[in-house]
């Protein structure tokens, strides 16, 4: 299963401060470790929200664009990884090994979210009635084939 691991923003990341040499090296090492283990699929760091925008959808209205920066710093995303592991616990174990993402001594938060897989919502896309009809058709074909 896949997890998106979200690194939350901080004052310094929102101020556009670049990570220290040491932090970059530590992160590089951690990324390397996840690659060696065949776990890391993708990952990026994001520019501060001042360079971004939001498109808001209100009922019955046309989409409205709001330019960054945005106030709620701790809820913003500063970077992400996409990892492939066997369980949520494994994802957690990996992230406990991550160097403090905003640097040593800085508060930071990492959020771990599971990615939907195709098999997570078959019954919504494929209502059970449709699946049953399919099965009937298939059984019918099998019967016909058996008669020959």
């Amino acid at each position: 299963m896949r997890f998106m691991v979200i690194v939350k923003a901080s004052k310094s990341s929102e101020a556009g401060e670049l990570p220290s040499k040491q932090l970059l090296a530590d992160m590089g090492k951690f990324n390397e470790e996840m690659m060696q283990a065949g776990v890391l699929l993708a990952g990026e760091g994001l520019q501060p929200s001042s360079k971004g925008a939001r498109v808001k959808f209100a009922a019955g209205k046309r989409p409205m664009v709001v330019d960054g920066p945005f106030a709620e710093t701790k809820e913003l995303v500063a970077g992400f990884w996409l990892i492939q592991v066997k369980s949520k616990e494994e994802a957690i174990e990996w992230m406990k090994r991550c160097p403090a993402p905003m640097g040593p001594g800085q508060d930071a938060e990492i959020e771990i979210r599971q990615v939907f897989e195709a098999e997570d919502f078959p019954s919504e896309i494929f209502p059970p009635e449709a699946a049953a009809r399919e099965q009937e058709m298939r059984d019918e074909l099998q019967k016909k084939a058996a008669k020959r």
Partner: protein, 428 residues
């Protein structure tokens, strides 16, 4: 932390650490089976102690230290301590250094070598294929016997027995725990690639059972191949295999129809192809080609898969290039199956009659006698040429030959369509 939660956390740690643990231990005790038992003992110790003490800061180092103490006991018992004493002293020095982050890099190289030795040993040609598969998933993939059994639809005791036998064979034949050089290294590596691709294929197009795909097996094979690419980064064919698997896996979502039936490549909704995996696959293929491996069998197959991945619509597929790639593939690995695939590509590039010509030449091939894809392809080309009655017979023959329930239904469906067309030919 509640007790069951910490139990799951410990299992997660073990899944991350077990391959490195076993690999490091195998270098000391020179026996993969003993190494795995020692690793299991360390896990049991963790399960006893961690719920009380909490998971240590460096759980991998803790497990390794615990297991190495047991390894010393083991060697002492087997009275080989004298000979091994010096070597062990070195091991423990390295272990102590591991606790200091600055020395991690040096140790990681060793770990990489150990892991490579481990995967080469697990896939050793002295073992039967099913033994190699079970041992690789167990030792490198960290899968439990039950998980492997479920994946292969085989009773757990059967898998357990395969693993026990494989370990015993490795010990009896005194298979050295090493990375061989030169031609032998090539041969051993290709045995690993073969095992990984076999696991992938069993997940991608299940040969038995009712499910058309078993994605967990694909994930396990891809996971191990990605690790192998990091362990042997200069081997073009390893990247070729990774590329092939990434691109094939990118289509997994689109290959299943609403009722779980297979959807053929050209009928798939390409919007559901996983672009991340395609990008990773194309990058891996580029690495293989840069290393001079463009003509390797896996790289060629990946190049073919890449042709499909790059085409936004089925009509945009570069069939001429695919037919040429199959020809190159057939030149290095001549096989009737490759030839059959070439026939399909030629038919798409130059018309069904040209493809059928190649297929007809294959009907006398004994290796394809019971291969359902031969009548299936033949049926498809005949249908395209408007020869519905003949096509129907071929599809029915193919349906009788496949062991996969989903595939059979698909083929019978096509036979029925041909039967209707033969009875009342529709304008085409």
């Amino acid at each position: 932390m509640t007790a069951p939660e910490s139990h799951r956390a410990i299992e997660a740690v073990f899944r991350i650490e077990s391959a490195r643990l076993i690999a490091g231990l195998a270098r000391i005790v020179r026996d993969v089976g003993v190494a795995e038992e020692l690793a299991q003992d360390a896990l049991v110790a963790a399960l006893e102690q961690w719920p009380e003490s909490g998971v240590p800061d460096k759980p991998g180092a803790w497990l390794m230290a615990t297991a190495k103490h047991r390894a010393i006991d083991h060697l002492r018992r087997s009275k080989r301590l004298e000979r091994k004493h010096e070597e062990l002293g070195r091991e423990l020095d390295v272990q102590r250094e591991r606790a200091v982050p600055d020395h991690d890099a040096a140790f990681d190289d060793d770990v990489g070598d150990d892991l490579l030795r481990l995967i080469l040993t697990a896939c050793h040609p002295v073992l039967p294929t099913e033994g190699r598969v079970a041992l690789t998933l167990r030792l490198l993939g960290g899968l439990t016997t039950e998980e492997i059994a479920r994946a292969f639809l085989v009773p757990a005791p059967t898998i357990a027995q395969r693993i026990v036998r494989a370990k015993r064979t490795l010990a009896e034949k005194r298979v050295p725990f090493e990375v061989p050089r030169g031609a032998e290294r090539e041969a051993r590596l290709s045995s690993v690639l073969e095992v990984l691709y076999l696991v992938f294929n069993e997940g991608y197009a299940a040969t038995a059972g009712d499910d058309w795909m078993r994605p967990a097996l694909c994930e396990d094979a891809l996971h191990l191949s990605r690790i192998l690419a990091m362990l042997a980064p200069k081997e073009p064919e390893v990247h070729g295999l990774v590329a092939l698997m990434e691109i094939q896996a990118s289509r997994a979502r689109a290959r299943l129809g609403p009722g779980g039936e297979p959807v053929l490549l050209l009928e798939q909704d390409r919007g559901r192809w996983d672009q991340l995996l395609i990008r990773r696959g194309l990058a891996a293929l580029q690495r293989a080609e840069k290393l001079g491996g463009a003509e390797g069998p896996y790289a060629l197959q990946a190049a073919i898969a890449a042709c499909h991945a790059r085409a936004r619509t089925p009509e945009a597929t570069d069939w001429v290039r695919i037919a040429a790639l199959y020809e190159r593939l057939a030149a290095i690995t001549p096989s009737p199956v490759v030839e059959l695939n070439r026939a399909v590509a030629v038919a798409m590039a130059f018309g069904p009659a040209a493809g059928l010509e190649i297929v007809e030449a294959l009907t006398a091939e004994p290796a394809l006698e019971n291969y359902y894809l031969l009548p299936s392809v033949r049926g498809d080309l005949l249908a395209k040429l408007g020869r519905s009655a003949e096509a129907r017979t071929e599809f029915e023959r193919a349906a009788g030959l496949t062991r996969n329930g989903r595939e059979r239904a698909l083929l019978l469906g096509r036979a029925a369509t041909c039967a209707r067309q033969a009875a009342a030919p529709e304008p085409r």
